[in-house]
Symmetry: C2
Subunit: 330 residues, 2 copies
């Protein structure tokens, strides 16, 4: 149904991931800080790619991964993001549409090629990312279709987009349109360095526009410039309606007014690659939220989806999450 | 060393594989014959891709996979094949060079895009392939560098290339150059339908130019138009110096004059995707042959490498084959 109701609309960078296995010595040699996402320009992307091992290409991007997870759970959704009219852009559009997610943002026909993220997976399953944002930074306010936003219960915004002034404008337009339509707005802090770059603006954005906040321990302590997780939790109460905070193997904490839940991480036989853990936690959580589940159940759904994604290389689910949820009795 | 000795030079189609999981009903619906490789044109490639699920992109191509396997075993090698100067072509060149394989065939700057193979993996781990050959059919005799061929102990030719008259000329030039340099020529029959299309020419080629023949049961029975594997084995004796014939879970048979060996398949915990089994068998076998191993050992090395590749999705090794060989005491 072309104009029917949707569960979630995601707004994010449209990125093709290039995965390769490497070791810590390689990261040191090429000057990449382990475990974080570094933005790189076209020249640095060429230089790093030339030194990288053989790759496997897979559609990615934070909000795109979340939308893929939601589709796998059986939710309805759409994605807004910018690719170039090139082979990687066609792969990106194919992959997300093949999941049943609407994606109609027009491809750029001039300017930079489709974004790619070089993902270096070390033997300890951690991932270090170097992202060339390319065409995805050309997302602008004109790409935000307000009637599409109004169709979705939740509009989910990716913090990474804040690095570009035009994309920032697009995020604000989407948030405003959602609130005007009586819908909810969710936001993910994306990355501690991203928080560090935009702390004051993020604090204002959350207070003014955000109903549901996602972040991990490093992001939330950076946001409030505190040392411990508990110190960060306190100012959050009242800052937005719902906050879902992930803590890797320690699980997650969900806050909403006086209500709070401490959720265990779902068990994983072997952690292979942590790429997409936060994105898939958000998918599970938002699936629960748009399907009338309690906050505790939302958190457990998030943990389950995150556990699936870290058990293999790649940030898109390899099994039907809907079946996984059923088999776990959730 | 830019002009040092090499173990193997492979000549083949330079193809990027697009893997997707599907079921038998899908194959029937889109009219693909299960388990075989069908050549498709650009329009059919678009049509099939539009119906395919989300994909994972990975460099492939039969001889390219064999060269990747050889590199992982520690052999030295080069690849000759044609990509277009586009994103998929740059991915292909990157991936094979990142393995240490020389690849200097210039990219086409006009004509068709880089070849891609849509690989549909069914739950029984079988793969059904639809290949758009694109730029790879533009390989011609001018791309065969005779001094490169002369550097390698073995020149390995992919039967699939025979479908294009220009590429056929390139194969013949490579085979002739290798023999003139006192080197060996290996050939893989590639596919039963490929054999069916070119039976008479393949029989002549083998008699006149080939020292080492690779084929599976379906290919070899098609070649000699006989009903059983044993019936096919008999005419092979004397047709070429060495034949290595694979039989899936039944293992392989190696023939050379009066000598013959029946090799068991290496055990596999769970067969996930049979793509590349023949290509990696050839890699193990040729590694043995270029490193002074007995024919029986060559066969066992082939079985071991094939077992690794069918235990995961994708036709390029996921672990160091050199370490695998050491751990198995081979």
């Amino acid at each position: 149904m072309a104009d029917g109701p949707l569960d979630v609309v995601g707004v994010g960078n449209a990125i093709v991931d290039v995965f390769s296995h490497t070791d810590d010595a390689f990261l040191t040699r090429v000057g990449l800080e382990k475990g974080v996402m570094t933005l790189i320009d076209a020249a640095r992307a060429e230089e790093l790619y030339a030194q990288m091992g053989p790759g496997v290409e897979m559609s990615g991007g934070s909000a795109g991964n979340t939308m893929a997870g939601l589709a796998s759970l059986g939710a309805t959704g759409a994605f807004i993001g910018r690719v170039h009219d090139d082979q990687l852009g066609r792969i990106y559009r194919h992959d997300i549409r093949a999941l049943g997610v609407e994606f109609d943002t027009p491809a750029a026909i001039s300017g930079m090629p489709t974004a790619r993220c070089l993902v270096f997976v070390t033997p300890d399953a951690h991932r270090t990312m170097a992202t060339f944002l390319g065409a995805s930074t050309e997302l602008g306010a004109a790409d935000i279709d307000e009637s599409l936003i109004a169709r979705a219960q939740v509009t989910y915004l990716e913090g990474y987009l804040w690095d570009d002034p035009r994309a920032k404008e697009a995020l604000l337009k989407a948030a405003t349109a959602a609130r005007q339509a009586g819908r909810k707005v969710a936001f993910t802090l994306s990355d501690p360095f991203c928080v560090d770059r935009h702390r004051a603006e993020f604090l204002d954005l959350i207070a003014g526009h955000i109903d549901i906040l996602f972040g991990n321990e490093a992001e939330i302590t950076s946001l409030y410039q505190v040392d411990t997780f508990d110190d960060a939790m306190q100012p959050l109460r009242g800052h937005c309606e719902i906050a879902a905070l992930t803590r890797s193997e320690k699980g997650s904490v969900v806050l909403s007014g006086a209500d709070f839940h401490v959720i265990d991480a779902a068990p994983v036989e072997r952690v292979v690659d942590t790429t997409g853990a936060g994105d898939l936690y958000a998918a599970g959580f938002l699936f629960g939220l748009t399907h009338g589940r309690s906050l505790a159940e939302c958190g457990r759904l998030g943990s389950l989806c995150a556990a699936e994604i870290i058990s293999h290389v790649g940030a898109r689910p390899e099994v039907s999450l809907a079946e996984l949820v059923r088999s776990e009795g959730l």
